[in-house]
């Protein structure tokens, strides 16, 4: 288990994961804060460190379109983007998943315009959560690196063949230097394995047609088949994590729990803000308050049953969303958590806080305020407000 300890940014970590996986083709377009991944990767290409052929397209729409062509041709394909780039790809994301093409995309989460903002929040990834892709979310550079490597194995698995995106917070993780461990190149190469083709366009002896017109007579069966495949993803994610643990020593599941088993109150929170929250949970534990945390990793498909089981014993839970779903409703993560708890007769009180939009700092005092409110709610059973913005000027 040769591992090199390094101090790198999230983008550098992901770029190196991509170098080690060594895709056949990549198509990408620059966008902050994901640009840096492709800058680093194209330098690997220019210096002969990878076999990848680059397609430096004129838009993200064409990036995803070219990825689809390359993937259907029959080979390993990846790209990276953020924010507006993902929004511009939106139409084509559904075609990648509907055509069952195992493209891997590094998504560096960034706010959506307007107003224009280049900093980290989850509006982009949440906007694409129901497009039929697998989504793996990452707290730090290490998780982004590990998820990127595992994403190829999951997406390309012959039971799955679906595209996958890995998510990490723009700037907070993409541009901050952290300590982490690289696996050696050979270990990643073996873990990723050879790409197995299924119905490649380039097999001219066996011509196939991709992208048919399917009318009401069969469309629904195709969608149902897609939903069925989605239901097989959790097993493959867990199997892949087991194999990954063998080469890395690092454990992954569908989500991470932190001091949750005996907790009475808890956070559910994605990505980098989970780290800050864990520190504050430790402080509250020292004061004798039983706080814990659940951090989803596999967000699509969402493991509703497993998450419900993990949270059902709590008295009060706050779901923190780094994106809002406009329409005077709750944040996107909240609605998934609420759905996961709905089948239980006895279930925790759920509240929702919107935080950190457009890169606004999520500070320990925000976590403290929420935990105090949760402790009060757990004690009295009274809810101050079901949904509110925190860390915002009133």
């Amino acid at each position: 288990m040769g591992q090199e300890i390094v101090a790198v940014t999230g983008n550098e970590a992901v770029a190196n994961a991509l170098r080690q996986v060594n895709p056949d083709v990549s198509a990408a377009y620059p966008i902050t804060p994901a640009t840096d991944i492709m800058q680093r990767f194209t330098s690997f290409v220019s210096n002969g460190l990878v076999k990848t052929e680059m397609i430096l397209v004129e838009s993200e729409h064409s990036a995803m379109s070219a990825c689809i062509g390359a993937s259907a041709a029959g080979g390993r394909v990846m790209t990276a983007t953020s924010s507006q780039g993902l929004a511009l790809m939106w139409e084509i994301l559904f075609i990648a998943s509907g055509s069952r093409l195992p493209i891997v995309m590094a998504l560096v989460n960034r706010a959506l315009s307007a107003p224009l903002n280049i900093h980290g929040d989850h509006s982009d990834g949440m906007g694409a959560r129901d497009c039929g892709w697998i989504q793996l979310w990452s707290e730090n550079a290490q998780e982004a690196y590990d998820n990127t490597i595992q994403a190829f194995r999951i997406a390309e698995h012959l039971d799955i063949r679906l595209p996958a995106m890995t998510c990490m917070d723009g700037f907070i993780i993409s541009h901050s230097i952290e300590r982490m461990e690289y696996l050696d190149d050979e270990a990643v190469k073996n873990f990723a394995g050879e790409f197995k083709t299924t119905n490649p366009l380039l097999d001219i002896e066996h011509p196939v047609s991709y992208g048919p017109l399917i009318l009401p007579d069969y469309y629904m069966e195709f969608r149902r088949a897609h939903a069925d495949v989605m239901s097989k993803v959790t097993k493959v994610v867990l199997d892949t994590a087991k194999d990954f643990e063998k080469i890395s020593g690092r454990k992954y599941g569908l989500f991470e729990t932190y001091r949750l088993e005996d907790a009475e109150i808890a956070f559910v929170i994605l990505n980098s803000a989970a780290g800050t929250s864990k520190d504050v949970i430790d402080e509250f534990r020292n004061k004798g308050i039983k706080a814990g945390l659940l951090k989803p990793r596999l967000y699509r498909p969402f493991p509703y049953e497993e998450v419900g089981e993990a949270l059902k014993h709590l008295k009060a839970v706050c779901v923190l969303d780094r994106a809002d779903a406009f329409g005077a409703s709750y944040g996107p993560l909240f609605t998934d958590i609420a759905a996961s708890l709905y089948p239980y007769k006895e279930r925790p009180i759920l509240i929702n806080k919107i935080y950190g939009l457009g890169g606004r700092d999520y500070l320990p005092e925000h976590a403290e305020l929420v935990l105090n409110e949760l402790a009060e709610t757990a004690k009295t059973g009274k809810v101050k407000t079901f949904k509110e913005y925190i860390g915002v000027r009133e």
Binding site: D24, K51, V57, A72, I92, L201, L202, I204, G211
Partner: protein, 318 residues
């Protein structure tokens, strides 16, 4: 050098777009596709923009394509085939493939001149070894005859209907072939199924040239043109003979008119059989016929001048 066309040889070749597809009877597009595929001496992989050709040739479990074929979306056939071609280069370089394969994208004028224009321009600039073929029927026929930037001046479409105040489309069409040639690509050409040998020679030539190629091929649509179902070849011939649709190629910057009509027919010969231009023959719209003819004259004269001028630039062969 491309092998010369031989009817004998062509008659023995398999037609790679099967019968039983659901294009309208008399449609020009499948004729164009069959000619293109027949002309090739290489295996072809094709991408297809959303449109009539795409929706009518691959429905549910049926496909009319005997070659590998991919439809992605409306505006991205060029980007899609560029991805296929790049994977081909990657695998070939890695020694995983050895066969010579050629790549063609097909799109209608809406998917090419308008919504797919950026994707096309990008693919051409990147230098992929591919041909982009536009079958130009002059409107969004698949959605029901809406105006595109390829719609000819004066035409009555469902979104620029000839009314009592606005008599059809008031703008001239975009000259896409010239715009593609301006990308500095090694080969751009216009063709017509009425001149089948010229069309197929151009395809064969383009397939021998490395790099990005563009061909614009007129493809009459009797539904949109409001013409008789069996007039597709006749109308595409009139388009050539009136110089509305000149047949030429621009190879490495040198323009050559490949078919020069013996006698340039008046544009009305092309307009008259088509219901979409009917209102232009009303006395109050005489100016429209004049304006349409003037545009054709201007473009034709300019093309001849370009031919003469670029010939003079041709560098002497060593």
């Amino acid at each position: 050098m491309a092998t010369p066309l031989s009817l004998k040889e062509l008659s023995r070749k398999e037609v790679l777009l099967t019968a039983g597809h659901r294009m309208c009877s008399g449609c020009g597009a499948p004729t164009v596709v069959k000619m293109v595929l027949l002309a090739s001496e290489y295996p072809i992989i094709a991408a297809n923009a959303t449109g009539c050709l795409e929706v009518s040739t691959c429905i549910s479990e049926y496909t009319a394509w005997k070659i590998p074929w991919i439809h992605n979306a409306f505006e991205n056939a060029a980007a899609t085939i560029s991805g296929v071609e790049t994977m081909y280069r990657s695998l070939k370089k890695q020694g995983k493939l050895s066969k010579e394969i050629k790549f063609i994208a097909f799109g209608g004028d809406g998917g090419t001149y308008d919504i797919g224009f950026q994707s096309l321009s990008g693919a051409m600039e990147r230098g992929h070894d591919m041909i982009y073929i536009c079958y130009d029927n002059g409107a969004y026929m698949n959605t029901g005859i809406q105006r595109s930037s390829a719609t000819p001046f004066g035409a009555d479409t469902t979104t620029c209907p000839a009314g009592s105040v606005i008599p059809g489309k008031l703008q001239q069409r975009k000259d896409l072939t010239k715009i593609m040639a301006a990308h500095g690509i090694p080969y751009a050409a216009q063709a017509s199924p009425s001149s089948w040998s010229d069309l197929m020679k151009k395809v064969r030539k383009a397939l021998e040239i490395k790099g990005p190629k563009f061909m614009n091929i007129i493809a009459p649509c009797n539904r949109g043109w409001r013409s008789r179902t069996d007039d597709s070849i006749l109308l595409s011939r009139l388009a050539v003979e009136t110089c509305y649709w000149p047949l030429y190629e621009i190879e490495n910057g040198v323009t050559r008119v490949t078919v020069k009509p013996k006698e340039k027919k008046p544009l009305v010969d092309f307009l008259k059989p088509q219901g979409r231009f009917k209102h232009m023959f009303a006395p109050e719209n005489e100016w429209m016929l004049k304006a349409a003819q003037a545009e054709v004259n201007k473009n034709w004269e300019r093309l001849l001048k370009e031919e003469a001028f670029t010939a003079s630039l041709e560098t002497p062969k060593e």
